[in-house]
């Protein structure tokens, strides 16, 4: 039981520290997808321009 307690404590600490990090590369990827979705219909009208 004591061991479980320690593991649980470590995991909770891990959760806290993991969620503190800002997932920058994931945000960048999602930003590209969102921006391309917002700007997409007009992109197809302008041939070869990006």
């Amino acid at each position: 039981m004591k061991k479980t307690g320690i593991v649980l404590l470590l995991t909770l600490a891990g959760c806290a520290s993991a969620n503190v990090y800002f997932p920058a590369s994931s945000v960048q990827k999602e930003a590209d997808k969102i921006i391309q979705q917002i700007w997409q219909p007009q992109h197809t009208e302008v041939k070869g321009v990006k």
Binding site: M1, T4, V7, L8, T11, L12, G14, C15, A18, N19, Y21, F22, P23, A24, S26, V27, Q28, E30, A31, D32, K33, I34, I35, Q36, Q37, I38, W39, Q40, P41, Q42, H43, V46, V49, K50
Partner: protein, 135 residues
């Protein structure tokens, strides 16, 4: 009870690892604001192309050359730019809130800012360290 405890801990660990790597953007709030921005883009596009509207370095847009816009269209364009910037702020805050980190809003804005510029079409105007430049 003990094995169940371990299972619970393992699940927690998986959830925490997963949430650290990815950001959640697939929420009704995000979808609603991006749909509005997509519709507005059709109206803004001619002004990006003409240079009346430019992209700022902070993830917003700017009415940079109102003189080039016919008098009759100016007020409407001002409202469009304001609405677009409000929606962009809403987008950043929706994403931050969807990930239970409202304090991430400014970091999300900062991450979006160069992506808007990178995805912009050639010929659009953008703010740089040396003032307005054309892509």
């Amino acid at each position: 009870m003990k094995p169940l405890n371990y299972l619970f801990v393992a699940l927690l660990l998986l959830v925490s690892l997963n949430s650290a790597a990815d950001i959640e953007v697939n929420t009704p709030g995000v979808r609603s604001v991006t749909a509005q921005m997509q519709m507005r883009h059709a109206q803004l596009l001619p002004y990006y192309t003409s240079g009346a509207v430019g992209l700022n370095t902070d993830g917003s847009i700017v009415l940079r050359d109102i003189e080039s816009v016919p008098l009759a269209a100016r007020q409407k364009l001002q409202r469009l730019v304001e609405a677009e910037n409000l929606d962009r702020n809403r987008l950043y805050s929706e994403i931050a809130n969807a990930n239970a980190h409202p304090e991430w809003q400014s970091a999300i804005r900062a991450a979006f800012a160069p992506r808007w510029i990178s995805n912009a079409q050639r010929g659009w105007w953008m703010m740089s360290d040396h003032g307005w430049i054309q892509k």
